[in-house]
């Protein structure tokens, strides 16, 4: 019985589909192997799982799937370390270990009745995708919805098909920029915070959700704040080393916060005093 309650034991999930998003980024669709019940994997937008590859290790990865489709657990992963590189070699039919879901969520309910500005940098679009899906499914509950997305190059743009669909909608503003580009790119070149200048912001009725490299989030917060938004209406998702995901291993500490259980999503007001401290 103890095995069932041990929070450190991974559950096996089968890879049902692999999508190669970019040269180094891929998406797994997973199904529960030891399904107790209907095999649903319910989660809140912005939460993460600890993903384990046999014999290599375990890492925290945000859930990138649509919360309305809980039969498939979806993760979008960039191959940057030993575990993610081992994951990149996995194919349909292979098995991954999953623990979770853990952590706090994007304020999709709290944002109802407000304008929403979603700002993503690089792989930071993946943890925001569940929130975008959820908001678009309940589109009538929100005011103006904007998605600002920055990638390094046009080749690094994630979820390209979906981005085209979103951009085609008349009820959503989508702006994309890249750091640098060659050839046929006709879009924006520059950093994401510059896009904020081009969005209509009603500071008293807007919720911002920001995920990307810390340096990008820093300048986004400054820009949003300059536009009149309070820090408690700006939400960011933080990243730190994690070994357990449940507040026991000590690795993800960020001042008094444990990113794994108090975060990863924080209202910026909660971590504002920590954010500018170097090497915290």
């Amino acid at each position: 019985m103890a095995a069932l309650t041990d929070p450190m034991l991974p559950r096996p999930f089968r890879i049902e589909k692999v999508t190669h998003e970019t040269a180094d980024t891929f998406t797994f669709e997973l199904s529960q192997q030891q399904a107790d019940g209907d095999g649903r994997f319910d989660f809140a937008c912005g939460q993460f799982n600890m993903l384990y590859t046999f014999g290599t290790g375990e890492i925290p990865v945000s859930i990138s799937g649509d919360p309305a489709k809980p039969q498939r657990l979806v993760h979008t992963i960039r191959a940057v370390g030993s575990v993610t590189r081992a994951m990149k070699k996995l194919k349909k039919g292979d098995t991954l270990g999953v623990r979770g879901p853990f952590g706090s969520a994007w304020p999709v309910q709290q944002a109802e009745g407000n304008d929403v500005i979603i700002i993503a940098g690089g792989i930071g679009l993946a943890p925001l995708r569940p929130a975008i899906c959820s908001i678009l499914q309940n589109r009538e509950k929100y005011g103006h919805v904007a998605l600002l997305y920055g990638a390094r190059t046009p080749q690094d743009i994630l979820f390209e098909k979906e981005l085209r669909e979103w951009r085609g909608r008349f009820d959503m503003q989508v702006m994309i920029t890249v750091d640098h580009a060659v050839g046929t790119w006709k879009g924006n070149i520059g950093v994401v915070p510059d896009l904020i200048k081009r969005v209509k912001i009603d500071p008293d009725n807007t919720i911002a959700m920001v995920c990307g490299p810390e340096i990008m989030m820093r300048f986004c917060v400054i820009e949003l704040h300059n536009r009149g938004m309070e820090h408690d209406t700006i939400f960011v998702s933080m990243e730190r080393n994690m070994k357990c995901g449940i507040g026991l291993c000590g690795h993800c500490q960020y001042g008094p916060e444990f990113i794994c259980k108090d975060g990863p999503v924080f209202p910026f007001s909660k971590i504002r005093t920590l954010f500018d401290i170097y090497e915290l």
């Binding site: 103890a2 095995a3 309650t5 041990d6 929070p7 450190m8 034991l9 991974p10 096996p12 192997q33 384990y52 046999f54 014999g55 290599t56 290790g57 375990e58 940057v80 370390g81 993610t84 098995t95 270990g97 990243e239 730190r240 080393n241 070994k243 357990c244 449940i246 507040g247 026991l248 291993c249 000590g250 690795h251 500490q253 001042g255 008094p256 444990f258 259980k261 401290i277 170097y278 090497e279 915290l280």
Partner: protein, 377 residues
């Protein structure tokens, strides 16, 4: 509490302590107690009071620890050594699971059903265990192995009458006398050839065991002697920590220049975190069998002084020694309170003694005080 019907303390002749150990063995406990090994007093399994470090004390200072003969044959006449009870409740190395490649079924290690009886637990150590309870047992996610071992354990505390020079529990309100969290409490009395203990209980388990001993009620004189020894022990402690002040100073000074100085002195050896009875960081290691058919996942103690502790893709968050020292000290004395409602420090002084460069937290904390004209002059 009706003190007249139930004496609060009894007298236990030293020769009778063996009987307590025997009774605990009969009840299925593994008794762990202090003993002298490798020129230190450490905690290991004992079956007999003969193993206790009779007549030895530990002389401690920043960066030094030495055993010396005492004038008497006290069994508990030392303070604390490099070990703490943490190593039994939260083992330094523990297998989390074994997994087969074929089935991908993760098999947890069978539960460790050991029932420990800890003999000679100091008040600071009881406080440290209560702190780790908040981390491992009482949070939203519990460590089942810790919870089981800890809940099954029997605690025989010993009032600390011989604090080391590095101790500062009296200023942290964590000692030298034990107030709660034990089953039995001993105070060692050794006068003019007589060797005995005051013994009292604070739990049903403790009372049941005492009930089998048929001990005489302690005399008022003996009880008074016990109080006197504790008062004297508190007086002996010269190092101090003002916990509330320390917390405020650290929270106010994440970018104080003294961090650089500390970072330059600190060797990042992690000794302080290994000997600390409350430090709880762990990492995991994956081991694959030679055939590749099975893999194991192990949990090991980790330290915020290692580079790997803060590694995320792209680099180490706390790449400087100063940042790592700041993380340790600020967590221990300040943010721990936000996380768990108590300080992470119990004033045992181990981090001072076992620091190879003798960094003394009680002294370093004062360096963060604002420079007033008085102190600048």
């Amino acid at each position: 509490m009706n003190k007249k019907s139930k004496p609060s303390a009894y007298t236990l002749p030293a020769s009778q302590l063996q009987k307590i150990i025997d009774l605990l063995h009969e009840q299925g406990y593994t008794v762990i107690g202090p003993q002298r090994q490798d020129n230190a007093i450490i905690y290991d399994e004992i079956t007999s009071t003969d193993a206790l470090p009779a007549g030895w004390t530990d002389v401690q200072e920043g960066g030094t620890y030495q055993l010396q003969r005492r004038d008497d044959d006290a069994w508990f006449g030392y303070a604390v050594g490099p070990h703490s009870w943490k190593q039994f409740l939260f083992p330094a190395k523990k297998k989390l699971f074994t997994i087969e490649r074929e089935t991908f079924r993760a098999q947890a290690e069978p539960a460790d059903k050991t029932r420990y009886a800890f003999l000679g637990v100091r008040s600071c150590e009881l406080h440290a265990i209560a702190i780790q309870d908040k981390v491992f047992r009482d949070g939203p996610y519990a460590d089942p192995a810790y919870s089981r071992l800890r809940n099954n354990a029997f605690f025989i505390a010993v009032n600390c009458t011989e604090p080391a020079a590095t101790c500062f529990c009296s200023s942290m309100n964590t000692g030298p006398g034990a107030e709660s969290g034990y089953d039995l409490l001993l105070t060692e009395l050794i006068d003019s050839g007589q060797h005995e203990f005051l013994i009292s209980s604070a739990s049903a388990k403790g009372r049941a065991l005492l009930g089998k001993m048929e001990l005489p009620e302690a005399t008022p004189a003996a009880r008074e002697r016990g109080q006197e020894l504790l008062a004297r022990a508190a007086d002996k402690m010269h190092r101090r920590m003002d916990a509330e002040k320390a917390r405020k100073l650290l929270l106010a000074n994440p970018e104080h220049p003294h961090w650089q100085e500390l970072g330059a002195r600190c060797l990042s050896c992690a000794n302080c975190t290994m000997v600390c009875p409350t430090c709880f960081c762990s990492t995991v290691e994956d081991v694959t069998s030679l055939t590749g058919d099975t893999a194991e996942r192990w949990r090991r103690w980790d330290s915020c002084f290692t580079m790997g502790h803060s590694y995320i893709h792209g680099g180490h968050i706390r790449s400087s020694g100063a940042a790592r020292y700041r993380q340790w000290l600020t967590h221990k004395l300040a943010t721990w309170v936000d996380q768990f409602g108590v300080s992470g420090c119990v004033g045992c002084g181990r981090c001072i003694t076992w620091c190879p460069v003798a960094i003394d937290v009680t002294e370093e904390i004062t360096k963060f005080e604002p420079v007033t004209q008085e102190t600048a002059a």
